[in-house]
């Protein structure tokens, strides 16, 4: 594994295309060639939209040749988790059942915004069924495979997004995060991922999972590319009831600002339990680079994770109730059985989880009066082997699936913005969460950028790709 990335960056492609050193068509052809060469192993793509991408690239080149301005993402190839609507494709959301849907008539809002900035959609990406997954495995499409070791998980549920960016097939991918589905694949695949504040980015025309917890966001190989994509996608949208009416707050201009004035702390207690040595090492390296020594306790984090679990399983069951009745044999059995159980949770317990959520949010916001950034593990371990059921920690055998997201769930539960940054440990990378107060994506991205410049975090280039 080397951190000297051979993968072209989004900003590098956009600059080269804007200055006519590279045509958008060549940039897209190169991406399509990388996908063709490597996806047979990685299994990240479920659809490659080559014709559409080439037509869009030709249009960009023609516009630039005519003297029209190039967008900030001109000619940058990107791909989306297959729960985003892509015009002409059925939005499968990792399922067998959704393949029977009519093809989408219009792209998801975030695809439209990326393409308005000059980016070029090259395909749709593998994911765990209906996003109820932390592994990146899929019984219908096969597992997406980790670019650093194809015998290991990408993490999920945005597994194809993590693998495609981690493997350098595309510089930017979009995914969703309900309980950790951007941050977990970022950690396992050694890349940067942004889960914005709940409500910041429009979810219009994407297939939902848990309305009150669903977020969409980008993956990239640097904080700068993450910021470029994020800025291109901001903005209110009346087609998503949860989308904020706040004005756009671009983060790219402030990315290099000094972080010396920020109060940075390490999450203690719950976040220091049930972690493997590699997660401890990754947090220690990041803390040292940031000069962070203060430890803060996020109150009732275990209960927050439990409440997120309850809301997820019940809202998810509600979403799929009719499909569970009519087509139970067409689900991944593991997903079906979780959803069936979720349908049987009594309503008062769900109501209490939502009440607890408000209490917990107030406590954590109070904590952010004394701190600007909290760092915590993104995952308790590096990517497990595909199909691995248990791992042993401190002599105790624990189920893999249930424990991969234990450190991400208490954070997304109240919609805090997080950048997952990759620490390039050998032989496998692992991520750390950079957590900020609501609407302060700028701070989390500045810290990620500073860590990148210090050399402590970087997206490693996979051997063999």
């Amino acid at each position: 594994m080397t951190t000297n990335s051979a993968t072209p960056s989004a900003s590098g492609i956009a600059n080269a295309v804007a200055t006519r050193k590279l045509s958008a068509q060549d940039a897209i052809d190169a991406a399509l060639a990388r996908i063709k060469r490597h996806d047979q192993v990685l299994n990240c793509f479920t659809d490659v939209t080559a014709d559409r991408a080439r037509a869009k690239a030709r249009a960009i080149d023609a516009a630039i040749a005519a003297g029209n301005g190039a967008g900030p993402l001109a000619g940058v190839p990107f791909a989306v988790k297959n729960l985003f609507d892509v015009r002409g494709l059925a939005t499968r959301a990792g399922s067998k059942i959704n393949r029977d849907l009519m093809p989408a008539k219009r792209d998801a809002a975030l695809i439209e915004r990326m393409e308005a900035a000059g980016a070029v959609l090259v395909g749709a990406l593998n994911m765990g069924e209906y996003a109820y997954d932390f592994t990146g495995e899929n019984v219908h499409d096969g597992a997406s495979r980790n670019p650093h070791d194809p015998t290991r998980m990408t993490g999920g549920s945005s597994g194809g997004s993590g693998g495609a960016v981690g493997g350098g097939l595309v510089p930017i991918a979009l995914g969703s995060d309900t309980n950790g589905s951007i941050r977990v694949p970022s950690s396992f695949c050694g890349i940067f991922g942004l889960k914005p504040t709940y409500g910041r980015l429009s979810r219009a025309r994407s297939f939902p999972f848990v309305f009150s917890l669903d977020h969409l966001g980008p993956f990239a190989r640097s904080a700068g590319d993450l910021a470029l994509a994020y800025d291109a996608m901001q903005g209110s949208d009346s087609d998503d009831a949860a989308c904020t009416a706040r004005p756009i707050e671009p983060v790219t201009p402030s990315l290099s600002q000094d972080i010396g004035n920020l109060r940075i702390a390490i999450a203690g207690g719950y976040f220091q339990k049930n972690v493997f040595p590699e997660a401890v090492e990754a947090v220690a390296r990041v803390a040292k680079a940031l000069g962070a020594a203060r430890i803060v306790e996020i109150p009732e984090a275990a209960r927050a994770r439990a409440a997120a679990y309850v809301i997820t399983t019940t809202e998810g069951a509600s979403l799929h109730l009719d499909r569970l009745r009519k087509r139970p044999n067409d689900f991944d059995p593991a997903v079906r059985d979780r959803l069936l159980a979720g349908a049987m949770i009594p309503a008062p317990l769900v109501d209490r989880a939502q009440k607890f959520r408000r209490w917990y949010r107030a406590q954590v916001l109070e904590l952010f009066r004394t701190v600007d950034v909290i760092i915590a593990p993104a995952t308790p371990c590096v990517a497990p082997k595909l199909g691995q059921v248990n791992f042993v920690l401190d002599g105790v055998e624990m189920p893999v699936r249930a424990n991969i997201g234990i450190h991400t769930q208490p954070i997304s539960f109240i919609g805090l913005p997080v950048v997952a940054v990759p620490v390039p440990l050998e032989p496998m990378p692992i991520g750390v969460q950079i957590i900020a107060a609501p609407w302060r994506e700028d701070i989390a991205l500045r810290v990620a950028h500073a860590l990148e410049r210090s050399g402590v975090v970087a997206a490693p280039q996979p051997r063999g790709l």
């Binding site: 679990y309 059995p333 059985d337 069936l340 049987m344 209490r352 989880a353 607890f356 408000r358 949010r361």
Partner: protein, 60 residues
């Protein structure tokens, strides 16, 4: 062997919701339900005042 109340609950609630739960699926459904209820109990045990509002507050 005595029937576990949770098995009875699964039978009753699946009937009430018109959800098909085949015999072969029951052990996994039950295992998931046990985990969900255990975590729900953790939330339930946390004392909240009667005035506590849920996170999702409706606005007219």
């Amino acid at each position: 062997m005595a029937v576990d109340p949770l098995d009875d609950y699964i039978d009753a609630s699946s009937k009430a919701l018109a959800l098909p739960v085949e015999e072969a699926w029951k052990p996994a459904v039950r295992a998931n339900l046990e985990v969900s209820l255990k975590l729900a109990r953790l939330v339930d045990e946390f004392a909240l005042p009667d005035e506590a509002e849920p996170a999702s507050v409706y606005t007219a």
